[in-house]
């Protein structure tokens, strides 16, 4: 079986965001970065799949030079192969452009059975690349997956559980499939020291737009329909009121105030 994990590097949520507004691009090089939290679950699920069913696991990312770090982490966790899609032309890609590049990489890898993504990135927060990727590739679209029940590469079938509003949906789908996973599906493991040392010395192969055969005009800021035109800090919430006094009085006041909102029936 051939398994791909899509791993994204994102700015640490604690980091200051450096934004190039006229260009509509994020200055990713200037920020502290981490592996997208949801992608740790995706990678772990990919590793578990390889353990349970055998096969090769390939991790891919699209991102600038320093995004190689997230792939190095994948190598430290014994991923068989990594590819970094990196080209100045990719900067500023929206969801469709991003998924187009990832789709091109998956096609280039060839004969892929299952692609794991995280539910959402914590920088763009769009949560839609998995669905878009499935649609572009014509693969089964399995989102919000909370459990992979079984994979049968011979019969080209996968059964998963999806955590959706109101409950869990059990879905059988044809392979190949794109599976995007949520928190709770597994407990991501950490790389060991030896793995980290080994990965530190490895070369991270890069694919440019030309290598992937994608038209540079159709990706990046130039090729994207959606564009960020403004970034702002959300207005602070109005200064709250600290209720002081005896617990009895506080409880009286706050329950009155809440009942006055006419929400509680």
């Amino acid at each position: 079986m051939k398994i791909v994990a899509c791993i994204k590097q994102v700015p640490d949520t604690e980091a200051e965001v450096k934004w190039d507004i006229p260009g509509g691009k994020l200055n990713r090089e200037a920020m502290d970065s981490v592996t997208n939290p949801f992608d740790e679950f995706a990678l772990e699920e990919a590793l578990l799949t390889r353990e349970n069913y055998d096969g090769d696991l390939i991790a891919i990312t699209m991102g600038p030079e320093k995004a190689a770090d997230v792939l190095r982490n994948c190598l430290a966790l014994t991923v068989n192969e990594v590819h970094q899609c990196s080209d100045a032309a990719f900067a500023g890609s929206d969801t469709f452009a991003t998924a187009s590049v990832l789709a091109a990489a998956i096609k280039k890898i060839g004969d892929v059975d299952v692609v794991f993504c995280g539910k959402q990135s914590t920088d763009g927060n769009t949560g839609v690349v998995g669905a878009v990727l499935a649609s572009i590739l014509g693969f089964s679209q399995l989102t919000y997956v909370s459990k992979v029940r079984s994979i049968d590469a011979g019969a080209k079938k996968i059964v998963v559980e999806r955590a959706i509003e109101g409950g869990t949906e059990v879905v059988e789908a044809k392979l190949p499939a794109v599976v995007s996973v949520i928190k709770g599906i597994n407990e991501p493991r950490l790389p060991n020291l030896m793995g980290i040392r080994k990965a530190a010395k490895m070369q991270i192969p890069q694919w440019s737009a030309a290598d992937l055969g994608v038209d540079a005009g159709k990706v990046g800021a130039a090729g994207s329909c959606t564009k960020v035109v403004e970034i702002a800090v959300p207005p602070p919430r109005g200064a709250g009121e600290i209720l002081k006094g005896e617990i009895e009085d506080i409880a009286n006041t706050v329950t009155d105030k809440l009942i006055d909102l006419k929400v509680i029936k």
């Binding site: 709770g184 329909c225 035109v229 209720l243």
Partner: protein, 328 residues
Amino acid sequence: MANDVWVYIEHKDGAVTPMSFELLGIGKTLADGLGSNVCAFVVGEGTDNIAKEAGSYGAAKVIAVDAGVFKGFRPDAYAKAAAFLLDKYKPEIALFRATSQGTDVAGAAAAQLGFGLCTDTIGIAVDGGKLKMTRAAFGGNYTVTVVNEKATPQIATVRPKAFAMPVQDASKTAEVVKESFTVNEADLNTKVLEFIKSAVAINLVEADIIVSGGRGLGSAEGFDLLKQLAEVIGGGVGASRAAVDSGWISVEQQVGQTGKTVKPKIYIACGISGAIQHLAGMRTSDCIVAINKDPDAPIFKAATFGIVGDYKAVVPKLIEKFKGKLGK
């Protein structure tokens, strides 16, 4: 008409809730600004009642793809039908709810049409015929404004409860257009085997009242007290990541960056410090009550009402007072 605003009506096996129609409200506002109509579109089997109800919530026209193959939700089938309709009619704007179904269909349909979309929008306005969409980014630390300059329709998913529910008026009816589009069963990739209903009765994303607990509860038993309070005031129970990771409550109830984004009218945070990753998931709640024994806890900066104290003393008092005042 070409510059109409379309609203996707989601349902589960033909069942709708009033929330399914919520975007007809903001859809109408946008259509008024464009001098056009708000229309509903629906994919399913036996959609007549849904179409009728959409009319009562303000849709001027309902476009339906109705066939047996669309009985239960399947992303590939629904996205193909949605893409077909959007390509054929080319409305100016198409809105979906940012739910699992709305996101699945919007993302895949936009991809089939060959362009990007804006997801989980919380603010939306028309500026020179183009949408300006506001959404949270970077773990909720920032808001960004996004435009979609090249695509028709401009597709957006909209966060549940970001806009007011339209008022239902049973005397209003919509013109219904049925499109005979279908897909072959053999061409579909997915099949739903079963649906297991959640043991958690209240979906936090749609809840008006949430009582949430964090590490400060100290144990799983702490949540029993919160559940009692939630029951008295008709709310759902949420949690911070620390409480979930401690195994005190299910991951389904986590609020925040790696959990759910909620927007209740009342959010009561007990023993939660107010880390940015938690705030990211609840900071747009209408009224936030924080109960924390540390007066310097950052949650107090986000709270409408703050109570400095031990939740073990405060929560039982609240339960007692509510019970008395609500006659329960």
